[in-house]
């Protein structure tokens, strides 16, 4: 959580100082980390207390007045609890906001299902035209925040504790080609990249890297497509990206396989890495599932 969240907040603080149209609305979480923002201009920064619905509504009020609001809290408290506020206060009003969440999927491994949110991205997909960003490293979060904070769209950026070893030169809306092969195409999403590369070592497959999952880069996917199988390795519920991938692939006759979080309440505890292992999402688990998918 520290690396990606910390970087995203630092970037927002920098933008806040440079751009008088940035406003920050918080609901108690990470307030200390935003100290520089409150110190710089308290008129554009507010902590509303433990009120996620109001955090979203207040941010939309700033947006109605021409500001670029940024909101932030723990994933399920905004993506699920305040989903209708995101849908109506931003989607329906056609206003822009940058939502930065901390603790994606089961990062809060010891906290249980109340703090888990492997369904966040699927929930956000129900709001038309939402931009969904899944960086895999701190520097990627920095780039994606800068690219989107003022673009007038509802943009959702989820940060996770686990990051990849080396950041990539990611670009908003683009897939990157990590490796080219012939037997199958593997799409690794955000923090799943390193373990997917480890898992596919020695396999003759193409590996693409996605940090923007909405809008999805259909052009690169279709250009780089290898073999008859597409396997997506996603850090949220398995199948979350099935819809966008299916749409991106059009009528191409490929088999789509999803490797992600199993759809069951997680009642075990531990570090994210321990839960990765339990849920089959460590390198060995991913390798097993990809091998099974492509026979």
């Amino acid at each position: 959580m520290i690396a990606m969240r910390g970087q995203a907040i630092d970037t927002v603080a920098e933008l806040f100082e440079d751009d008088p149209r940035v406003a920050v609305v918080l609901a108690e979480i990470s307030v200390d980390r935003f100290n520089p923002v409150f110190a710089h201009d308290p008129a554009r920064a507010v902590n509303v207390g433990i009120m996620e619905q109001t955090m979203v509504g207040v941010a939309a009020g700033y947006a109605l007045e021409g500001f670029h609001p940024v909101i932030h809290t723990i994933t399920p408290f905004v993506a699920e609890r305040a989903l209708e506020q995101l849908k109506l206060d931003f989607g329906h009003q056609q206003l822009g906001v940058l939502v930065i969440t901390v603790g994606g999927s089961y990062d809060y491994g010891s906290e249980g299902p109340t703090h888990h949110s492997p369904g966040d991205v699927q929930a956000l997909f129900t709001i038309p035209a939402t931009e969904i960003l899944v960086p895999g490293a701190a520097a990627e979060a920095d780039r994606l925040v800068r690219a989107t904070y003022a673009n007038g769209h509802l943009t959702y950026l989820r940060t996770q504790l686990v990051t990849n070893r080396e950041p990539r030169d990611v670009e908003f809306g683009r897939l990157l080609v990590e490796r080219r092969g012939t037997r199958a195409t593997v799409v690794a999403v955000g923090p799943m990249l390193d373990r997917t590369l480890d898992a596919t070592a020695g396999m003759d497959v193409t590996v693409l890297y996605a940090t923007t999952v909405s809008p999805f880069d259909a052009e690169t996917l279709n250009r780089e497509l290898a073999g008859d199988d597409v396997i997506v390795v996603e850090p949220f519920y398995a199948g979350t990206l099935a819809g966008v991938l299916s749409e991106a692939l059009g009528d191409r006759p490929v088999r789509l396989h999803a490797v992600g979080v199993p759809r069951a309440m997680i009642r075990d505890y531990g570090t994210p890495e321990q839960l990765d292992h339990v849920l089959g999402l460590d390198g060995a688990g991913i390798r097993r599932q990809i091998a099974s998918a492509i026979g």
Binding site: V46, V58, G61
Partner: protein, 226 residues
């Protein structure tokens, strides 16, 4: 402002054009008098330039039953009268809930209860950040106050000392949960709150004109057809 004659009969006629109701039904719309006073005597708006930066902001949080709202906007010249009979028809700009992208003069698209007040708090903060002295008025129903999101914002606004925010509650006695006296409950949370007769134009004008250091709440009670 303050120079317009409040022509209640004209608003009733326009509202009835939208709904197809008889005029005596239109006359009973609970928001009609408060909206007439707001748009006739209180809010600084420019129908020629709906996005005029110096305008006061009005958010109809209780988005349903907007015929009186559309009638008042039409009366002020935000859109032509021939729009009204298209109300809720396919191809119309005037739905059962107002859409800011479709109707000039509408600040916020509403309809799902409990969204307008948090939005208004954000607008009030944003205006303060701009150093602007315009005000924000948000209208809710009494039953709408059942929604918890309102109470989040009711707790928050006094703490932020939003003197540029006015909450206008149209209390037509429709809340299943007994909230009366609403103004006293709001006062406990730190609002400058008062109750007026929601059909009394002079009382509405006096209450809605006043500015205070704290956010203001005007509970307009509407129990009978005028």
């Amino acid at each position: 402002m303050g120079t317009l004659t409040l022509d209640r009969d004209e608003i009733v006629r326009l509202a009835a054009l939208a709904t197809g109701d008889e005029k005596h039904e239109a006359s009973s719309y609970s928001t009609l008098d408060a909206l007439l006073v707001l748009y006739g005597h209180i809010l600084r708006v420019d129908p020629e330039d709906p996005a005029w930066e110096q305008r006061d902001r009005f958010i109809l949080s209780k988005g349903h039953g907007p015929a009186a709202y559309y009638a008042v906007l039409c009366w002020r010249g935000f859109f032509p009268e021939h729009w009204l009979p298209t109300f809720t028809r396919q191809g119309s700009r005037l739905g059962s809930h107002p859409d800011r992208l479709l109707v000039p003069g509408v600040e916020a698209s509403t309809g799902s209860l409990g969204h307008g007040l948090p939005l208004a708090v954000g607008v009030a903060l944003a205006l303060r950040a701009k150093g602007a002295d315009q005000r924000v008025v948000v209208l809710t129903g009494d039953a709408e106050l059942n929604e918890g999101s309102n109470w989040e914002a009711i707790m928050l606004a006094p703490q932020l000392q939003l003197g540029n925010l006015t909450l206008l509650v149209i209390d037509n006695g429709s809340s299943t949960i007994d909230l009366v006296p609403i103004h006293e409950r709001l006062a406990v949370f730190g609002w400058h709150a008062e109750q007026v007769d929601g059909r009394d134009h002079a009382a509405l004008e006096a209450a809605l004109s006043a500015r205070h250091d704290q956010p203001a709440a005007v509970v307009a009670t509407v129990r009978t057809t005028p």
